[in-house]
């Protein structure tokens, strides 16, 4: 029994069909708890007022935007090294979800920044890095759709993902150097004594868990779609050959 068993599309689909309903339920339950608790049952911040509550969307989506790219990187490496098709398809399936997360983070950030910083957008290092990440996602998706042969598309996009990761990290440090930031430091980190105050922290954990499960569910679901689309393609190719 090893994890590589699920490189078999049939086993993967069987597993994901069993896991998916639970994942959907958990993600929606966590999101409901986190968001309702966060929006209605936490006090207003003494400086930010009620705008602080956008944290329940902004932080988890930003977190998942980066983790989605990281997941694509791992899946790309698995595809290049072990040639499991499911892995390549999972990377393909994760990209649009990552785009959505990046957009949510950018938009909620802008909505919060307007009343707080007095501007929708500043060229702050964090904001700029996210915009660059967004460009990387777009390029990745565009390359997938431009190459006809699915295997070479998986090859090329995997390499783009790996090289892109290196340059994304480089860009992160380059923009840090280039402009001073307006954005506050990390909201959550493991090595800090005080993070966000506990009243805000507990609902935030729920909403993060909700976003993580939502991301997993969406990726599993979309990977299943991609597998079936690949099967359909193979069936149609067979039909054409017989006809």
């Amino acid at each position: 029994m090893s994890i590589w068993e699920y490189a078999n599309p049939v086993k993967f689909l069987r597993l994901s069909e069993r896991v998916l309903p639970a994942l959907w339920v958990i993600s929606f339950a966590c999101l409901a708890i986190g968001l309702i608790w966060g929006f209605f049952f936490t006090p207003d911040d003494f400086r930010q007022g009620s705008t602080v509550k956008i944290i329940y969307l902004h932080v988890p989506s930003a977190l998942m935007a980066i983790n989605a790219w990281f997941m694509m990187l791992v899946a790309s490496l698995i595809w290049l090294i072990r040639r499991h098709h499911v892995s390549a398809l999972a990377a393909k399936a994760a990209a649009p979800v990552g785009i959505a997360m990046t957009l949510i983070a950018l938009i909620t950030g802008a909505v919060w920044g307007q009343p707080m910083w007095g501007t929708w957008w500043v060229w702050d290092p964090r904001l700029t890095s996210f915009l660059i990440l967004f460009l990387f996602y777009i390029g990745y998706v565009a390359l997938w759709s431009a190459v006809d042969d699915p295997d070479s598309a998986a090859d090329l996009t995997s390499m783009l993902c790996i090289v892109g990761s290196v340059f994304a990290v480089l860009s992160r440090y380059a923009v840090n150097f280039w402009n001073q930031g307006l954005h506050q430091g990390a909201s959550l980190s493991l090595d800090k004594e005080t993070n966000v105050a506990n009243v805000f922290y507990h609902p935030l954990l729920f909403s993060i868990a909700g976003f993580v499960c939502l991301f997993l569910a969406l990726v599993l679901y979309r990977t299943g779609t991609e597998i079936r689309r690949r099967r359909m393609r193979a069936l149609m190719a067979r039909e054409v050959r017989h006809a």
């Binding site: 460009l135 390029g139 565009a142 070479s152 090859d155 390499m159 783009l160 090289v163 860009s171 150097f177």
Partner: protein, 218 residues
């Protein structure tokens, strides 16, 4: 290797358009800048360094598909892939040829165009130095993009979309060197970073490009 370099250089010169088009495009961008932001000399001198870097980058970007597209069409690329010369070396040479034919003329012309944009006097030296150090990275990263999109029908626009995010660190440090130089500040810090990026990409990118090209030719 020398034969390949000579061949690429001669092709670029004889087929025309090699230096000409890139330089002309650079000039056009530089001419368009005052039209778009207004002719006030103090404003122009403030943005000159960045505008020149951006123009050089765009001119570089425009000529990237020439690195591999023609060789792909006439089958030279397949011969290169099967030749005893490692594909990594072949791609490094092709990037070098691109740099010599496209980027080097831009570096030489940039100070001239700096006059048009009212670049402050100390900026000329730093602009040239930063372009000289930074443009090899543009060529070698561009070769990776060209390898990614070789043989694709809608390659041109996609190539730009893929390569531009990869150009971000080079542009940031390059333009920062030129800007600090033009303002009379110490520019050695970003210059070291720019040199690091160039050295790192020259050392590593040919391997990535060759891996991609092997996948694309398969």
């Amino acid at each position: 290797m020398r034969a390949l370099l000579l061949r690429d250089l001669i092709l670029a010169i004889r087929a025309g358009g090699g230096f000409g088009l890139g330089l002309a495009f650079f000039l056009i961008v530089v001419v368009l800048v005052p039209f778009s932001v207004g002719p006030a000399p103090e404003l122009l001198s403030r943005i000159a360094a960045g505008a020149l870097w951006l123009g050089a980058l765009l001119a570089c970007l425009l000529s990237l598909d020439r690195i591999l597209a023609l060789d792909w069409e006439d089958g030279t690329l397949d011969l290169l892939a099967t030749s005893p010369l490692p594909l990594e070396a072949a791609l490094a040479i092709k990037a070098l040829a691109h740099w010599l034919t496209t980027a080097l003329p831009l570096v030489v012309a940039a100070p001239l165009f700096g006059v048009l944009l009212n670049l402050p006097a100390p900026g000329f030296f730093w602009l040239t130095v930063s372009l000289l150090v930074g443009t090899p990275a543009l060529s070698i990263i561009g070769a990776f993009g060209a390898a990614l999109t070789v043989g694709l029908k809608r390659g041109g626009l996609l190539l730009s979309l893929l390569v531009v995010p990869l150009y971000v660190p080079t542009l940031i440090f390059g333009a920062e060197v030129a800007r600090r130089g033009a303002e009379g500040l110490d520019a050695t810090g970003p210059l070291a970073m720019l040199g690091g990026i160039t050295a790192g990409t020259i050392a590593l990118m040919p391997f990535a490009s060759a891996a991609v090209l092997r996948m694309a030719l398969k």
